[in-house]
Amino acid sequence: MKIKAPKIMYSLKLSAIGLFKNRVMTVSSIFVLLSCLVIMGTFFLVIKNINYNIEKIDGFNKIVLFVDKEADEFETAEIGEKLKAIKDIESVEFESKEDALAEQVAQYTEAEFLLEMYKDNNPLKDSYVITYKPNADVETLRLNIERSIDHIAKLNVNMDVVNQIQNIKNAIAIIFTWLLILLFTVSLFIIINTIKLSVFSRRDEIALMRYIGATNFFVSTPYLIEGLAIGAISAGIAYGVQYVIYKYLMLELVDQYEIISILPFADVKGIVVIGFIAVGVITGFVGSLISLKKYNQENS
């Protein structure tokens, strides 16, 4: 369908008039939608920071692979190369049995004699410290390693901790999804009513438009733009509010506790902007569409 520029301009003008004419409902819709966005945004950022802190726990995202004593130098080096090729592995660090022994001995005073004692009969094994990606499925990764690598003496994976953290992450994701659905529904309901009111206040105009020969698309466009505008304005204001909340509540209040690290706003602003615009605009557009579909069915 070819959309003429004058039609768009005229629709924009009608939208602006509609938003102003029903300004009480417009402001209410913006307020409700922006509140929902800020609640969603805050919840999302809290989750993001929990994940960030979990990932920072030392050794959490690490697996230690001990090489059996039958592997020669070449085979041991090959293990490192093979590990790097496995999906979800971020980095691999080799620790020779000599280094391991030296490290252990260094923890005790007056134990240097052990170095001499075990010089030719080191009981420790060569190992690889594998760091995996934050969102990796650890069980699958463990199986992949076992399948791809020979000469594994032992694979140290702290599955209990991994599972516990995974469970917490899943629970948070479920709560977040339901909260998103709930807030989206509330926002949608408010926008549907705003547009319904806007359509109702212009019903004579719409009836005349139809008699003159306006298409359903042309009649609907101003209301769709109204919905989009409500969504976009809400997203814009919500971003500002979110910035203030994050900066003054999270960064200034929570970040003073050394045990907790808070992501800088610059690291999350991209996803906040995209999320707010997407949710705001989709809510506004879908709300208008539902309202108009109902009106068109009843009146065309």
């Binding site: 003429k4 004058p6 039609k7 105009e205 003159i212 298409t215 042309f218 065309s300």
Partner: protein, 229 residues
């Protein structure tokens, strides 16, 4: 060309508004449709506007088969018609100019064309000097002329005027009818729905009489214009 063949309309509540109406109105004709309240004039208008579909029979207008017309095509069909409502339906918050321009904006005409044509038709109905007034500042007759300008501005083939002289004094009525005659002289089909038998008789045009949904009379130019010419 308007062609109705055995058209009947029964509403869901059982009211039979039109009964086997068959009539043909060629392009450029001037027709009055008369009849008492409840005779079927409004239903006939709704059928012509594509607002209702006939229960049986066939309607063809300006090359569109209104029985088969797709919902999405109705707006384009309606653009071939200009409608003057009995209550004018002018927007009180728009000036005379804006009211007329509205009809062009809704079909997406560019601003330059809108300006040119709106001025042309405001001059045509002698209201160019009132372009920036609001409807409340106009007399009833002037408001009706604005509605006529709005009906004409998109260059329709057919103009339908619903009771164009009701609540008007004789001078205003004649003024309005003369304008409709002028439009008819331009080659457009004009259909006037009226109760005003005196005025209908005065103009000696074709008269369709509806009674209880039946077309009871099709009086073609009795002592009509051609006699006067």
């Amino acid at each position: 060309m308007i062609k109705l063949s055995n058209v009947s309309k029964v509403y869901p509540n059982g009211t039979q508004a039109l009964k086997n109406v068959t009539v043909s109105i060629p392009d450029g004709d001037f027709v009055f449709i008369i009849g008492p309240n409840g005779a079927g004039k409004t239903t006939l208008t709704k059928l012509l506007l594509g607002e209702e579909k006939p229960t049986s029979g066939k309607i063809e207008v300006n090359g569109y088969d209104l029985n088969k017309i797709k919902h999405s095509k109705i707006p384009y069909y309606r653009r071939t018609m200009g409608f003057v409502f009995q209550d004018h339906r002018l927007f009180p918050n728009m000036t005379v100019f804006e009211n007329v321009a509205f009809a062009m904006h809704v079909i997406g005409e560019p601003n330059k064309t809108v300006k040119q044509r709106v001025w042309k038709f405001l001059k045509y109905v002698s209201l160019d000097h009132r372009a920036h007034n609001y409807p409340r500042e106009l007399s009833g007759g002037e408001q009706r002329r604005v509605a006529l300008a709005r009906a004409l501005v998109n260059n329709p083939k057919i103009v339908v005027a619903d009771e164009p002289t009701s609540n008007s004094d004789p001078v205003m009525s004649v003024e309005m009818m003369e304008l409709l005659k002028k439009i008819n002289d331009l080659g457009k089909t004009v259909i006037v729905i009226s109760h005003d038998i005196k005025m209908v008789n005065y103009y000696h045009k074709r008269v369709l009489t509806l009674t209880d949904g039946l077309l009871t009379d099709d009086h073609k130019k009795a002592g009509g214009d051609e006699n006067e010419d």
